[in-house]
Symmetry: C2
Subunit: 265 residues, 2 copies
C-alpha cells in the first residue's frame, strides 16, 4: 500500500530522507540537492521541528501523511509526528519498496559526543538501521537557519555514494558531523567523545511570580585528552564519521554482575 | 538552589525516583513502597504519561516544577516535560544533593529486547547514568493499570539494596524486566535480545474521508534461538537484568570504515 501514485524510475537506487528540523528546514533541501543525482529521492519529514526527540514515537495519537510539492525532483511528504514516526510510517505507507539507503539531516547543529542519544536525526537513522537499511545521519556544527552547507557538499555526496555502492556492516549506521564555516580538511572515522551535558537551567519568574526553567546546559567532554574522538577531529576541521549500533547491552559487565544479582528460587 | 524546604534525614541514602507513566501511575507508588525503608525518597515524575519518549527532552518550552502531596514518606514532584526533563531538572532544582541511586518505574509494560531505545523509563535511567549516578530501570511485562506488582516486590527491594551497597560499574546502568502473573523464578543477568518492531499500522478514515494511522507493530525477536537473552529468561519466568551503556559507538567497525571513508584534502 502506497500513498504515491506515479512509478519510480526503474533500476535507480531509492533514497529515503528524513530529518528532525521539519520539512521546511534548509538543511533538508540541501541534502536533497547533494544526492539527487544518485537516485530517486523520497522525503518523509516531520511537519514541525522535533529537535531533541531521540527515538521517541507516537503511541496513541492519530498519524497523518501529507503530500507536499516536489522539491528538485524529490517527492516530499510530512507526518504529524516524530522523526521515528516519519521513518516507521514512511516505510510502511509511502515508499513503493525498501529503500537502498536512508539518510537524515542535514541537521542544523552538532550531534557529536553523547548528543547521539538525544538527537531526533539519529533517532530516525537508528530506526532505519534496525529495519536493515544502510543509514547515515548528517549534522552541521551550526544552529543558524542561514547556515552555509555548501562547503561540505562534495563530502556529503561522496559518503552517500560510497554507502550506496558498498553498504554498511550489518546493524551499524553512521553519525556524520560536519565542521562549519570552513572547507572540511578531510574525513576521519572515529568514536564519539564520552561526556555529559551540564544540567544548567535559567530560572525565570512568570507574570504571576511563579518560577519556570529553560535548559542552558553545555557539553562536558570527559575525553578531552583523547585524539581518537569526534570532538578532537571536528576541532581540527575534519568531518567525523562515527559507526553507531542501536544495541545498548554492555556485554563485558554481564559476568561480574551475574555473580552479584543472579539467583534461583 | 532547591525547591524543597525541610531537611532530609542525615546519613540515610538519597533515592531519586522517576518514571514515564506519570506521577499517578500505580507502578510508581509500588516502587516507593518497595524501597522506602532503604533511604529518603524523592520522586520527580512527568505530569502526564510519556511512554515511548526515549531520551527526548524539552528544547524551547518553559518547564515548571510542582510539589504534590507526600506519598508513603516520599516527597513527590512533577515536571511538565519528559522523563529526561524530570531527571535533569530534578537533579538541578529539587534534590538537596547528588542522589545515591536513581531508579525508574515500575513501568507498566515490557522494556526488554530493543525497547530500551524507545523507552522513556530507560531514557530517564540513561540520563542519570551519564550524570554518574548508579541507575536502574524496572519494568513489568503487563500493560494494565491494574497490574499486580507485589509478586516481585522482594526482588525489587533486593536489587536496589545491592546497588546501594556496592554501586555499579562506571558508565553502566541496569534495565530490569519482570515477568507478570507469577512469582519470579529468580534473577538472570543477560543481554537484550536483538530485534526490531514490525512497522504495522492500522489505517482508518476520519469522518471527512481522510486516512490516518495508528501503530500496531510487534517485536520481532532476531535472537530466537539464543539462550542468553532477556527474552529467553523472561519466557522462563526469570527477572532479566541487562547492563546498559549510553555509549553508542561501535568501535570494532572503526578500522574497516576508516579505510573506506577517511581522506585528507
Amino acid at each position: 500500500m502506497t500513498e504515491t501514485s506515479s512509478p519510480m524510475a526503474v533500476g535507480r537506487p531509492l533514497i529515503f530522507i528524513s530529518n528532525d528540523d521539519s520539512i521546511s528546514a534548509p538543511g533538508l533541501h540541501r541534502l536533497v540537492d547533494y544526492v539527487k543525482d544518485l537516485g530517486d529521492v523520497v522525503v518523509v519529514a516531520p511537519e514541525d521541528p522535533h529537535s531533541g526527540m531521540s527515538s521517541a514515537f507516537t503511541v496513541t495519537d492519530a498519524l497523518r501523511i501529507n503530500q507536499c510539492e516536489d522539491y528538485n525532483g524529490a517527492r516530499m511528504f510530512t507526518v504529524n509526528g516524530t522523526p521515528v514516526d516519519c521513518v516507521k510510517l514512511g516505510l510502511y505507507a509511502v515508499v513503493p519498496r525498501k529503500p537502498d539507503i536512508m539518510i537524515a539531516g542535514i541537521n542544523h547543529g552538532s550531534n557529536s559526543g553523547n548528543s547521539i542519544i538525544y538527537s531526533g536525526t539519529m533517532g530516525a537513522v537508528l530506526e532505519a538501521c534496525m529495519e536493515g537499511i544502510p543509514s547515515v545521519g548528517f549534522s552541521l556544527l551550526h544552529h543558524s537557519i542561514a547556515a552555509d552547507f555548501s562547503l561540505s557538499a562534495k563530502f556529503v555526496t561522496e559518503i552517500v555514494s560510497k554507502v550506496l555502492d558498498e553498504g554498511l556492516p550489518k546493524g551499524i549506521c553512521l553519525n556524520v558531523n560536519i565542521p562549519s564555516k570552513v572547507v572540511p580538511a578531510g574525513i576521519k572515522t572515529c568514536r564519539a567523545a564520552r561526556g555529559h551535558w551540564s544540567d544548567g537551567y535559567s530560572r525565570y519568574l512568570d507574570p504571576m511570580g511563579n518560577p519556570f526553567y529553560m535548559l542552558n546546559g553545555v557539553f562536558i567532554n570527559e575525553d578531552k585528552d583523547a585524539t581518537d574522538t569526534d570532538e578532537y577531529w571536528l576541532a581540527r576541521n575534519f568531518i567525523s564519521v562515527v559507526p553507531v549500533s542501536p544495541e545498548m547491552t554492555y556485554s563485558p559487565a554481564i559476568k561480574d554482575l551475574s555473580r552479584r544479582f543472579d539467583c534461583e528460587d
